[in-house]
């Protein structure tokens, strides 16, 4: 499966899709958590649940999982199998 002519490529850090997903969800998590803590909770709409806060915290957990995954199992971009 290796490619004799190609130069070995590594993606790292930000280019890894897992870091992009984790990063975006983390930013959203922070915004929603802040809205839940400091913003209008609009409990009449949500039926008494602080929805922004809970959703924000859940997003932070998911984001952390993605970033952790990318850190623990870093991607070395597989050599292309085509010509």
């Amino acid at each position: 499966m290796s490619n004799p002519s190609g130069t070995p490529r590594r993606t790292a850090g930000l280019a890894d899709i897992r870091n992009i997903i984790g990063g975006l969800l983390a930013v959203y998590g922070v915004i929603l958590t802040a809205m839940g803590l400091f913003g209008d909770q609009e409990l009449d709409k949500t039926g008494g649940v602080n929805a922004n806060l809970w959703a924000g915290l859940a997003l932070l957990v998911v984001a952390a999982a993605f970033i952790l995954w990318a850190v623990l199992r870093p991607t070395v971009v597989p050599p292309t199998s085509g010509d």
Binding site: I20, Y28, I31, M35, G39, D40, A55, V62, G82
Partner: protein
């Protein structure tokens, strides 16, 4: 099926004075961040594009979980999200058949049986497989109909996107159309398929983050599943003449309201064979938009696992599309009133003038989401609609460059030339999509019928592929004659039914709606197989040497599987994964 649920006249846009949803600064911020990331991905991906295989097939380098999610996301566009929630609001649980009967089995079949041929033969597109197996005639039919259909569907996606932006943010429709088109254009032209796929994966998570809270809060507000049942039962008994009976809405089988067939047995047969076999196998196994995602993966094992991995999230998409639709029909006043009237009431305040079922999600968002989550939900919807269009455009530019331009117009140029053509085709497709979108806003019925017509190309395609893959004698002439006669067969049946093609349909066969589509697709399949067999008997087959990698009996078994796969743990092997998915979907079918 992706195309059946929604109508292009979802939103015949009337100048809305107010936006449906009251977005605040924080919501705009969330949407803006999303767009910045989308464009950033295009830029990053651009640095890695060095040749046309990179651009069109992502250098065949992506891991299976990425292509698997992209496989789902490419289909999780405007048509699916709005269409499935709308159908859920209207007829309830039978809508799940579009997923558990009408998608999962075909996706598993694609991964287990057909993908080895697509990936192993090193073709760059589904039409190219057609070319190698059957030659020019079948190839031209397939490539042209696919390219035209993608332009049309990209236009419809763009139109829905524009009308939602218009409804949510108050931008004029034409501004929304052009801004959305430019964003999609820039990230695909720069980054090619990698950018499209990465954005699809990102979109998947954003859409789940958007729809899951919506569903959970909606359920909480309505009093849980019991509240949904009570609400639907109450509404159905209050309006027995106009609303589908509650027991039909709350049980998936026999699904009379979905199939349009009154007889229970016929309805089940129609759903299992018409939707579950002919229509869905035709769509999922031959549609290059989907197959292209699997071709971008890094090995034959990953290619086969792409649709199988995709089937797991696909199973649960109904819970965040159909269920919120059903909740909206109970909780949102406008949708409840619309449903009580049998869908005829003219209630102002929809995304396109009067409220339609397609507004279910938007109105539920308005009623239950606080600012913040609201922005995330808007970002999710915009993401899904853009990704749907991007998927159409990226599949179109591949087929246009490789299958039409390189094959028939300008041959044997260096690779860089076709890369340029691909980028130009993307620009061209986007411009055409803007015009198609404008057309869709003026001639909505015609667009509906065109979508139905394009649906008819899929069923005979599947018949031709499957016979051609397993019967080495099938000839090139049989390939294109079968395709054409199958399609003609479907059109004739559609004309004989009621209303399938509008006033063209004469109503000799007393079936309408989805039942008619099932029947037409079934007829197309049968006609294609019979004609293919008959024509084959009178024409000369291709020599066996030209069929290696294309036909089961002529292909060495080793080249159909990945030699490394036997050493993987069970959860990374194709067949065990497919079996797990199959068992899960059977459990879901039984439980619900």
């Amino acid at each position: 099926m992706a195309l059946s649920g929604i109508s292009a006249h979802a939103a015949t846009v009337v100048a809305a004075r107010d936006t449906i949803i009251d977005a605040k600064a924080v919501d705009y911020l969330i949407v803006l961040i999303y767009f910045a990331v989308v464009l950033g991905i295009g830029m990053v991906a651009r640095r890695q594009v060095s040749d046309s295989v990179d651009f069109f097939l992502s250098g065949r380098s992506l891991p299976a979980w990425v292509t698997g999610l992209a496989f789902i996301s490419a289909n999780l566009g405007a048509v699916e999200i709005m269409g499935m929630s709308a159908t859920g609001a209207e007829i309830g649980l039978p809508t799940v058949h579009y997923f558990w009967v009408g998608a999962i089995p075909a996706m598993l079949f694609l991964g287990v049986v057909m993908m080895p041929f697509y990936y192993g033969s090193k073709v760059r597109s589904v039409p190219e497989f057609m070319y190698r197996r059957f030659g020019t005639g079948a190839h031209l039919v397939n490539a042209l109909s696919f390219a035209v259909a993608q332009l049309l569907i990209a236009g419809i996606n763009l139109y829905l996107l524009g009308s939602i932006v218009h409804a949510l943010l108050g931008w004029p429709l034409w501004v929304a159309l052009i801004v959305a088109a430019v964003i999609v254009l820039s990230y695909i032209t720069f980054g090619g398929l990698s950018a499209a796929i990465y954005n699809e994966v990102l979109q998947f998570f954003v859409i789940v983050a958007a729809l899951l809270p919506l569903t959970l809060i909606g359920l909480h507000r309505v009093g849980g599943w019991q509240g949904v049942q009570d609400g639907i039962t109450g509404a159905a008994s209050a309006n027995p003449d106009t609303v589908v009976p509650a027991d039909q809405q709350l049980n998936p089988w026999p699904g009379n309201a979905l199939s349009g067939l009154d007889n229970d047995v016929m309805s089940v047969i129609g759903i299992v064979f018409g939707l579950g076999f002919v229509l869905s196998f035709g769509y999922w196994t031959t549609n290059f938009v989907e197959v292209q995602r699997a071709m971008a993966s890094n090995s034959i094992s990953s290619a086969r696992k792409t649709p199988i991995i995709g089937s797991f999230p696909k199973m649960f998409v109904p819970f965040i599309t159909i269920l919120p639709g059903m909740i909206a029909a109970v909780l949102v006043t406008e949708i409840a009133d619309l449903k009580a009237s049998g869908g005829t009431a003219e209630i102002p305040g929809g995304s396109g003038g009067n409220v339609s079922y397609n507004d279910s999600l938007l109105l539920l968002m308005r009623d239950v989401l606080p600012n913040g989550l609201l922005g995330l939900a808007i970002a999710g919807l915009l993401a899904a609609f853009m990704a749907g269009m991007a998927a159409n455009v990226s599949a179109f530019n591949t087929v246009f460059s490789y299958d039409l331009w390189e094959r028939y117009v300008v041959k044997d140029r260096p690779d860089g030339y076709y890369l340029t053509i691909g980028r130009l085709a993307t620009v061209g497709a986007t411009v055409v999509a803007i015009f198609t979108a404008a057309l869709a806003s003026n001639f909505s019925n015609i667009m509906d019928y065109l979508q139905t017509l394009f649906g008819f190309f899929n069923a005979p395609l599947f018949a031709t592929f499957i016979v051609g893959m397993f019967w080495r004698r099938m000839t090139a002439t049989a390939g294109w004659v079968g395709l054409v006669s199958g399609t003609v067969g479907a059109i004739i049946v559609a004309i004989l039914c009621e209303g399938t093609l509008g006033s063209l349909s004469i109503g000799v066969i007393p079936i309408d709606g989805q039942g008619a589509a099932f029947l037409a697709a079934g007829a197309a399949f049968v006609v294609d197989v019979v004609v293919s067999i008959v024509v084959t008997l009178f024409t000369r087959p291709k020599p066996a040497s030209e069929l290696v990698g294309l036909v089961y009996s002529e292909t060495p078994k080793e080249s159909l599987t990945d030699p490394d796969e036997a050493g993987y743990p069970f959860y990374r092997r194709t067949i065990p994964l497919a079996l797990i998915a199959l068992v899960l979907v059977i459990i879901l079918n039984i439980l619900i």
